[in-house]
């Protein structure tokens, strides 16, 4: 495998800058950029001109990740060349309503379902979606043995509108999935948060899928407002500072973290990025920068396990959470650097800050994560 990457800031891309990437003759081109960067009028045409035969997928971000670290308002274009017997297939779907999520996921699965499917890269609409429903739909068709990586698109923390890049172009409602087929693929994953729970355990006394109405009988939003104080006016963004730890009804930690994607002032409810178990328990979490960086390192180390078997360059797809960036602020590069140090120079880093990460969790091959650094390593034997 070979990868070549280009990071360019938010300015029209010069024509020649894509040439080295084009010379690679890649099968896959990953494009992550800010909403504004993606909306550059010439971008799509340039990409098409440069990579006519490749699958060009990606999404908008709340920050771009590349070998050079984190950038905002930029665009990272990564060309990937598979040298071995690896085949790709792309599928796309649209989600206009939250209810359509599962169905859309199932549609994607049906389109990709072929013998030899090893992994799916999924990028999708980041606001007004139920990420776990999308996954559930996908898993219902593909089963639990196909690894799904990727994440929900971001829009710089505004939680208003994201974009997805697929063969049809840029859509705010789109989901795009790339199926990777072939025994020659090397895959590994790692996902870690670094958040610590604190305070009392609270019961989700009223919830519906990914909407949390009440905790311990109190409107869920009130708790956030209490804890955020004056920062409450920055909700939902400021809510990223305090994700929830999910616990089951019998009080067991599930290792899942849920971030809020939005708030419903009228209902006093929190809209989470994924489902929570009704009657389950939640606990507020916090993290320091160091914690988060340590978490990222841990995730990287988990994913790095497959790298020794790879030939050529590999690709580490880093999907981190917008909340982490918010916490780490200026020091956010640290988590990228630490991942880079773990993988070494032979691996190209590419990714974005998302509103929800897709990746394995323990024995389960696919879960929606929040507030994690989810690392997917792709290589070839």
């Amino acid at each position: 495998m070979e990868c070549r990457q280009l990071l360019h800031a938010a300015a029209p891309l010069e024509a020649g800058r894509l040439v080295p990437l084009a010379e690679l003759d890649p099968q896959l081109v990953l494009v992550f950029g800010s909403v504004a960067a993606l909306r550059e009028p010439a971008l799509l045409a340039q990409l098409e001109a440069a990579f006519p035969g490749a699958l060009r997928v990606g999404c908008s971000t709340a920050g771009e990740i590349s070998d050079q670290g984190v950038s905002l308002d930029g665009c990272v274009i990564t060309a990937v060349k598979f040298e071995g017997p690896v085949s790709l297939q792309v599928a796309e779907a649209a989600v206009s309503r939250m209810d359509d999520c599962q169905e859309a996921g199932a549609a994607l699965g049906a389109a990709l379902r072929k013998p030899g499917l090893r992994a799916v890269l999924l990028f999708g609409k980041g606001v007004g979606v139920n990420g776990s429903a999308i996954l559930a739909g996908l898993v219902s068709v593909l089963g639990e043995r196909v690894a799904i990586s990727g994440g929900l698109a971001g829009d710089g923390g505004a939680f208003r509108e994201t974009l997805t890049l697929s063969p049809s172009g840029l859509t705010p409602d789109g989901l795009v999935a790339v199926g990777l087929y072939g025994e020659g693929l090397l895959l590994s994953h790692g996902s870690r948060g670094g958040w610590t729970p604190f305070g009392p355990v609270r019961k989700a006394t009223r919830s519906h899928e990914n909407i949390l109405y009440e905790l311990d009988g109190e409107p869920a939003l009130n708790i956030y407002k209490r804890y955020l104080g004056e920062h409450a006016r920055d909700l939902p963004t400021s809510g990223l500072l305090f994700p929830f730890e999910l616990m089951s009804q019998d009080g067991n930690r599930q290792g899942l973290i849920r971030t809020i994607l939005g708030v419903d002032e009228a209902a006093g409810a929190l809209i989470l990025a994924g489902d929570i178990e009704p009657g389950g328990y939640l606990r507020l979490m916090h993290a320091s920068t160091d914690d988060l960086v340590d978490g990222a390192e841990a995730a990287a180390r988990l994913a790095e396990a497959a790298r020794p078997g790879a030939t050529g360059r590999g690709l580490a797809l880093l999907v981190s959470c917008v909340g982490r960036r918010l916490v780490m602020g200026e020091g956010v590069d640290a988590e990228i650097e630490v991942v880079g140090r773990v993988f070494g120079p032979e691996t190209t880093l590419a990714g974005f800050y998302s509103y929800g990460e897709f990746g394995p969790l323990g024995a389960t091959r696919c879960k929606l994560h929040n507030q994690t650094m989810t690392v997917t390593y792709l290589g070839e034997r």
């Binding site: 604190f198 009392p200 804890y227 920062h231 305090f242 507020l284 916090h286 320091s288 916490v327």
Partner: protein, 1052 residues
């Protein structure tokens, strides 16, 4: 600017007093624009602002983070504290609950008699589970209680009433049995169901008991809503209140109405039994085997003359009273019953009466109780005095023995049987002989009579059953003869019986059985012999009938030869011998004819013909025949036909004629002087038939009385000498009798010796349905005899020229074209060449006769143009068989000759279209035309020339008449010569044919006398009498001469 950064900037002297960070940034902005500044410093100035912003962001972020952290810490601490307090409170509450729970549990434990828990037990879970346990127990107990209650409710009738008697609760059963719905019971006083049967004391006692808190038991009678009474066994239990005093009472009752009823029934039946026993005089005994005591009822004791108490009640009393001869048997029967072999103990035995006499008792009993091993513990029974009956029985036995002895001596079998209303036949008594006759054991015969039906011959069984059934119904005499199987063989028996009804609805039969085998056999033998004789006679007759021709022929030959011989030159002696021979021959032939005739009749070969004929004509003919002979003897011969006698009859006129001829012949034979008269009269006249009586009276020698009886038998003649004198075979009358019989009549004679005789006979004839009367009919047909057949073409096949002429003359008058041929072959040829509408076909023609010709032309392959052409037969035979033969040959219709214009026209009308169809409906053509009418001729002699009639037949056509007469005058002599030749040659058949022809022609031309003579000769010819035929020839010739003369006037 963040505070700390701001202070640090001032500390580092980067910001002076009064300066703000923004000022600094401005200074740096200006500074970096200075071109003299080195590159690195320029970059510093440019980037310092950004750097400062980043640093400030970091500080701000840290500030934020710290603030949030502190806040979080504070908040969560508060929350934790709060949670803690909540927990504490909850724990306290829980403790209180535990306490309360423990108390309750203890209470429950106490109530169950279990040990209480101490305060150490504060484990909620444990308490909870204990509570569950207790609760479960309680629930179980309640459940059981509930079930008991339900059971009680199901079984018992329950009410709860208060002290005043007002019903507080009534269960379903109470409602059911009292007939009141619950609404009417609850709130009402219990008095509602008071029956009024009990005395008030009962209720008072009850109240006292229950008010005292005691439980009351008793039986109560209540009244239901519909008024009927029912019995209850009641238990009243007071329900005590807190004070311990009764506040209500609960009544639990069961319905004992049934039991009460049973008790009552039992009492009644006991009473009935007692009364019955008393009334019946039957002695009742009850033997308790275990205690070995027997109870004897008063009646039983009285039966044997004992008074109550006079006999001990031990069972050996019984055996001491039983007759020693009966004791063994009685004991045995009892043991068998006790063991179960017999369903009851029944025995007749003698017991000793108190006065020492023996009484016959019928003892009947049963084991009524057994112990665990099945041995009888109690036996009960009834004894009846049957002494009288027994005596009667014995007397009967004696009587029966006497009866048996008696019947044993009677040579026939005696039996008594009965048939019950269901039809079952049982033999009650059969004598010894009865059994021996049938080789039956008495046991077999008695009782069920199935042997009767199995032993009877299958063919006779139905008859037997029927006879039995009939006799049973009629209750009179029964007799039947049939066969039974006896010891492997069949024997004939006769069963007789007198059948009487018996009260039970059946019948009693007393009868005898006789063995009639011998008689039957004799009958059979006789029958066989008779049959054999009859058969023999029959076969003899048949033989004779068949042989008739064979016998006659040589005889004819002999006579013929003799006649010829007599015609030659003979000397007197020769002539004498020949004469005698001829006479003998004639006699013999006559005899043969008679015998053959008779045998024909006996053989059943004589069949009567059925033809239409005219009685008057027939009588005239007979007259014609017999008159000459009468005249010869100088006797007067007359005949008369009573007025009103129908003339148009149907029957065998030939046989009639034969009888008449025979009788008249006899009369003439045996009369020397005087007269012979024939009188015909009607005996019975019916619409379709008539019985005639013919009487031939003569004034002859008469018949002796003693010979009258044998007259009509064969071979008897009055006087043998007369026979020799007058000839005759003696068979005539016998034959006449047979014929009269065949004709459906009788024959008889009355006679006075020396005075004369009258022979009479009766005969039955049918009347013609549509008689064509003589003369008048023919005359009335005349007016409508004009026809125009539109020139239709006819073929006439007729060999007789005279007849040809006549036919053609008639046909041409009616506008028909006629082609004439003389034989069948020419007829066929003509039919091949030409188209005709109709063929008139004579039957007797040379070469190919009419029948054969018709058959030929009917065949499509014959080549004739129209095989389906209408063919009308012309025949002179006029006999029944002839008609059928014509029709069978394929002819369509039939005419008899001589042709009668009316009849011919009728036939033609039937088959041909014509212009004038106003002719009256043609009279039905008779099967045979009547004999030539001689309407006005009552005199004996027929006319020589019936001119009028002849002309009428030709419709007055003199020209045609002349022509025809001319033809006749030419032909007839030829025919006569032919006839003579044939007769002389002995060719009887040919002669007969010729005579027939002559007869026909003479009839055509109206030569009546000639015709009559020819007829006579024809009769002779048919009878085979050649000699007579020849004898008659001269007169035939003479008649022709006379006719010729008479007809001369016609022929120009």
């Amino acid at each position: 600017m963040q505070r700390i950064l701001d202070r640090q900037l001032r500390r580092a002297q980067l910001l002076t007093q009064g300066e703000e960070a923004v000022d600094l940034l401005e200074r740096l902005e200006r500074a970096q624009a200075d071109p003299a500044l080195p590159e690195s410093l320029q970059r510093l100035c440019r980037g310092f602002g950004d750097f400062l912003a980043r640093v400030e962001n970091t500080y701000l972020q840290h500030d934020r983070d710290e603030e949030l952290r502190i806040r979080s810490l504070r908040l969560s601490s508060e929350e934790l504290l709060e949670a803690n307090e909540r927990l504490q409170r909850s724990a306290q509450a829980q403790a209180a609950i535990v306490l309360s729970l423990r108390a309750t549990a203890n209470e429950l434990l106490r109530s169950e008699g279990r040990a209480e828990m101490g305060p150490e037990v504060d484990d909620l879970a444990g308490l909870s589970s204990l509570m569950s346990e207790l609760l479960a127990d309680r629930r179980k107990a309640l459940g059981e209680l509930e079930q008991q209650k339900m059971a009680l409710d199901e079984h018992a009738i329950v009410t709860i009433t208060d002290l005043a008697g007002v019903i507080l609760y009534a269960n379903d059963k109470f409602c059911e049995i009292s007939g009141y719905p619950r609404e009417e019971l609850v709130g009402a006083n219990h008095r509602l169901v008071k029956s009024g049967v009990h005395p008030p004391e009962l209720y008072r006692a009850m109240w006292d008991d229950i008010c005292a808190g005691k439980v009351w038991h008793g039986e109560l009678c209540n009244r239901a809503k519909d008024g009927h009474l029912y019995w209850l066994a009641a238990t009243l239990v007071p329900i005590k209140g807190e004070s311990g005093q009764p506040v209500a009472y609960i009544a639990i009752r069961t319905d004992i109405s049934e039991r009460k009823q049973m008790e009552e029934d039992l009492r009644q039946s006991r009473e009935q039994l007692r009364i019955a026993l008393e009334a019946s005089q039957m002695g009742f005994w009850d033997w308790n085997t275990t205690q070995d005591r027997t109870y004897f009822s008063d009646q039983w004791l009285a039966m044997l003359g004992y008074r109550p108490g006079e006999l001990p009640d031990t069972s050996d009393v019984w055996s001491s009273l039983v007759h020693p001869d009966d004791l063994e048997r009685a004991r045995e029967i009892y043991h068998r019953h006790a063991l179960g072999e017999l369903p009851a103990y029944k025995v007749e035995l003698r017991m000793r009466h108190r006065d020492g006499s023996w009484r016959w008792l019928f003892s009947s009993g049963q084991v009524t109780a057994r112990d665990a091993q099945g041995a009888a513990t109690r036996v009960m029974g009834i004894d009846t005095d049957i002494s009288e009956r027994k005596t009667a029985e014995l007397a009967l036995q004696v009587s029966k023995a006497q009866y048996d002895e008696l019947t044993a001596r009677i040579p026939v079998g005696v039996y008594t049987a009965s048939i019950d209303p269901a039809g079952l036949l049982t033999f009650d008594y059969v004598s010894d002989r009865f059994c021996r006759l049938l080789a039956l054991e008495q046991i077999e015969a008695l009782g069920q009579s199935s042997w009767l039906f199995t032993r009877v011959h299958p063919d006779d069984r139905a008859c037997l059953l029927e006879a039995l059934a009939r006799a049973t119904q009629a209750r009179g005499q029964f007799q039947w003869e049939g066969r039974f199987w006896v010891s492997g063989g069949l024997r004939w028996f006769r069963l007789e019986a007198a059948v009487a009804a018996i009260p039970s609805g059946g019948t009693r039969w007393n009868g005898i059985l006789v063995d009639i085998t011998d008689r039957k056999e004799a009958e059979q033998t006789m029958r066989e012999a008779r049959d054999l004789a009859v058969a023999a006679s029959q076969s003899k007759s048949e033989f004779l009938a068949n042989m008739s021709h064979e016998i006659r022929t040589p005889m004819n030959g002999v006579l013929g030869m003799l006649t010829l011989l007599l015609g030659t030159q003979l000397d007197d002696r020769q002539r004498h011998y020949a004469d005698l021979a001829r006479l003998s021959g004639q006699t013999l032939l006559s005899l043969i004819n008679d015998i053959l005739d008779l045998s024909k009749v006996e053989a059943g070969k004589l069949e009567l013909e059925e033809e239409d004929f005219d009685l008057q004509v027939l009588l005239d003919e007979v007259g014609h025949m017999m008159t000459p002979r009468a005249q010869q003897k100088g006797l007067q011969f007359t005949q008369s036909l009573d007025a009103g006698t129908p003339r148009q009859l149907r029957g065998d006129f030939r046989r009639l004629r034969q009888v008449l001829v025979n009788l008249v012949g006899n009369a003439l034979k045996f009369t020397e002087t005087g007269s012979v008269t024939v009188r015909t009269q009607t005996l019975f006249l019916g619409p379709e038939e008539v019985t005639l009586r013919f009487a031939v009276r003569d004034t002859g020698i008469g018949i002796p009385r003693n010979k009258l009886g044998a007259l009509f038998q064969t071979f008897s003649q009055v006087d043998a000498s007369t026979t020799r004198r007058s000839g005759g075979t003696g068979l005539g009358l016998a034959i006449s009798r047979q014929l009269a019989d065949l004709l459906g009549g009788e024959i008889g004679v009355t006679s006075e010796e020396g005075q004369g005789s009258e022979f009479w006979f009766t005969a039955l004839f049918a009347r013609q349905a549509h008689p064509v009367e003589a003369g008048p009919t023919a005359q009335s047909a005349l007016p409508g005899l004009d026809r125009d057949f539109l020139g239709a073409r006819l073929l006439l096949a007729e060999d007789n020229l005279v007849n040809q002429e006549l036919a053609v003359a008639l046909l041409e008058q009616w506008n028909l074209r006629v082609d004439v041929v003389g034989n069948g072959m020419d007829a066929i040829q003509a039919l091949r060449e030409n188209d005709y509408q109709l063929v008139l076909m004579d039957i007797q023609m040379p070469k190919l006769d009419g029948l054969e010709a018709t058959a030929t032309l009917r065949n499509p392959r014959s080549g004739v143009r129209n095989p389906g052409i209408r063919v009308v037969a012309l025949t002179a035979h006029a006999m029944a068989g002839d008609r059928q033969a014509c029709l069978d040959a394929g002819m369509d219709d039939y005419l008899t000759k001589p042709l009668e214009p009316g009849v011919l026209l009728a036939i033609l009308d039937r088959h041909l279209p014509s212009r004038q169809s106003q002719a009256p409906p043609p009279p039905r053509v008779p099967e045979s035309s009547p004999r030539r009418p001689s309407a006005s001729h009552r005199t004996v002699r027929p006319a020589v020339f019936k001119e009028e009639e002849f002309l009428q037949r030709l419709l007055g056509n003199r020209k045609a008449a002349a022509m025809i007469l001319g033809r006749f005058r030419e032909d007839c002599p030829r025919h006569l010569a032919q006839l003579k030749g044939d007769a002389e040659a002995g060719e009887l058949r040919k002669a007969a044919a010729m005579v027939h022809l002559i007869k026909g022609s003479s009839a055509t031309v109206g030569a009546a006398a000639l015709q009559a003579q020819a007829l006579e000769l024809e009769v002779f010819a048919q009878a085979g009498d050649l000699e007579a035929l020849q004898a008659g020839l001269p007169s035939l010739f003479r008649e022709f001469e006379q006719f010729s003369l008479a007809a001369q006037g016609f022929i120009p």
